[in-house]
């Protein structure tokens, strides 16, 4: 980016927005927008509080468990649907429906099914993340040319070898792309789930802060959650980059 003929670093645009926020906050136009510096101060306070640490632990755990389930089930289903036309016919419709459906609407049903606890959050993460993983895995497995599978068979591969040593690896770039997108959705799932359940984790904190008009804390928590979402997707993106080389050279 250039400004008045001078090169300015990318992050400086962020600085402009922070400054704007600070100004609006100082003007005291809306109680909803406290000054940015106040939010930062609240953030420092927040990350040291026991409440926050406990909520983080619960949130991370639900996220990790839900994602792990989504990855295992999503990859398995995706491989199945990529390999067998019948599985695709049976499940494809539902996967395509759910991948773009407003899943938040289903969280109340999960709450009835699993109660107002961790299980519902885990189920929400799973439900948000799993479909895109299925779709991407299926796409990856489908476009593998027959030649590697044929090669492994000619050297005596059993069906199990074909799956574990060829198909999963050949489809890995797509699977990872699916997992990355799934993780972003999973973060949404964990937040939306907790907000709707509103008695555990960050959901409880959000509820607490907004009800008591603790806007500094509210915004501090929001920024942290956003940062977490970005971090997660960057992390998987980095892993993806490392194996990018073979997406292009795959036969």
């Amino acid at each position: 980016m250039t400004l008045f003929g001078h090169r300015v670093p990318m992050m400086s645009s962020l600085l402009v927005w922070c400054l704007l926020w600070e100004l609006i906050g100082r003007l005291d136009l809306m109680f909803l927008v406290p000054p940015f510096t106040a939010v930062l101060a609240a953030m420092v306070e927040l990350v040291q509080s026991r409440q926050f640490l406990a909520a983080t632990a619960i949130t991370l755990r639900s996220f990790a468990v839900g994602m792990a389930l989504a990855i295992v089930v999503g990859v398995a289903l995706g491989v199945l649907m990529g390999r067998f036309r019948a599985a695709d016919r049976l499940l494809g419709m539902w996967v395509n429906l759910f991948v773009s459906a407003p899943l938040s609407a289903l969280v109340p049903i999960l709450m009835i099914l699993f109660g107002l606890g961790d299980t519902t959050i885990i189920a929400t993460v799973f439900m948000f993340a799993v479909w895109i993983i299925v779709l991407d895995t299926q796409a990856g497995v489908k476009h593998i040319s027959g030649s590697l599978v044929e090669m492994s068979k000619s050297f005596g591969a059993k069906p199990r070898d074909v799956y574990l040593k060829i198909l999963l690896w050949a489809a890995l770039p797509e699977i990872l792309a699916g997992i990355r997108l799934g993780m972003i959705r999973g973060v949404k799932g964990v937040v939306i789930g907790q907000l709707l359940v509103s008695v555990i984790g960050y959901g409880e904190l959000f509820e607490l802060y907004s009800r008591n008009f603790l806007m500094e804390r509210f915004w501090a928590l929001t920024i942290l959650v956003f940062a977490f979402a970005i971090l997660v997707s960057e992390l998987v993106g980095a892993i993806e980059k490392r194996i990018e080389y073979y997406a292009g050279v795959r036969q």
């Binding site: 068979k153 050297f155 040593k165 890995l172």
Partner: protein, 267 residues
């Protein structure tokens, strides 16, 4: 008193040639399209036999049925006298598109057949290393396929097929994806490989020159449906330099002869 020795070895054995692969009445339909029709062929042990014919005459189809990768519609393939029902350890395939695993190093690719057989890592890597050296790729063990040239990749494919120590090597146009110079180098390598390894090579090509240059026997296939039109045993001197052989009358005459036969199908 003299013991009566069993004298079974004296019973006259019929002078039956030792055919490691026999193809009997093999036909293949793709849907209603007849790709191959009633193929009968013998492949003597230790020979290099080429399958030669125009594009689409069913060379790959025939080779894959011998490999056990395709089911014939009718007829059968016998390997060492036993009917083929699927791939087996006595046959190894070299693929036209190399079929290397891009996520695996050269050594893992070469050792893959042994890995599938459950051989311990140290042992299979030792064997793989030997064959990597044999195809001239020593020092490239830890490289990945995308770091190699097309010619080098096919050498990896060849080393992988050699490493499982099969009796029959099935090669589907192994040299078609490399440049002419590399191709000639490969042909020399193939000939010297044939001298040191007691293996049978079944070699698909659509280059007449290549077939005549490397083969003990050439099976000419015709198209629609694919059938055996002729079997030629080129009588080429093998003791000269490559250039001498390529200028040899008999070599040139054989090529001319095959060309005349093929022209009928081109018209």
């Amino acid at each position: 008193m003299q013991a009566v020795l069993p004298r079974a070895w004296e019973t006259p054995v019929p002078a039956k040639p030792d055919n490691i692969v026999e193809v009997r009445g093999l036909s293949k339909f793709y849907g209603s399209f007849e790709a191959l029709k009633e193929i009968d062929l013998d492949f003597p042990r230790g020979e290099l036999i080429s399958l030669l014919g125009p594009s689409g005459c069913g060379k790959t189809t025939l080779l894959k049925m011998i490999a056990g990768l395709l089911q014939p519609t009718a007829g059968q393939v016998l390997v060492k006298g036993k009917p083929v029902t699927g791939p087996g350890p006595e046959r190894a395939f070299v693929f036209q598109d190399f079929a290397l695993m891009p996520w695996a190093t050269v050594i893992r690719n070469v050792a893959f057949g042994l890995e599938l057989r459950g051989m311990p890592k140290a042992q299979r890597h030792e064997i793989a290393r030997r064959y990597i050296a044999e195809v001239g790729l020593a020092g490239f063990e830890e490289r990945y396929p995308h770091e190699l040239s097309g010619g080098m990749r096919q050498r990896v494919g060849l080393a992988r097929a050699l490493a499982v120590d099969a009796d029959v090597l099935l090669m589907d146009e192994p040299f078609s994806a490399v440049d002419e110079q590399t191709r000639r180098k490969f042909q020399e390598d193939l000939l010297s490989l044939r001298r040191v390894q007691r293996k049978t090579f079944i070699f698909v090509t659509h280059s007449i020159e290549e077939a005549v240059y490397v083969s003990d026997r050439i099976v000419l296939l015709s198209r629609r449906p694919g059938r055996v039109s002729r079997i030629i045993e080129p009588d080429i001197p093998r003791d000269g330099t490559p250039d001498e052989i390529r200028r040899d009358r008999r070599y040139l005459d054989t090529i001319e002869d095959i060309w005349d036969g093929l022209k009928r199908f081109v018209d």
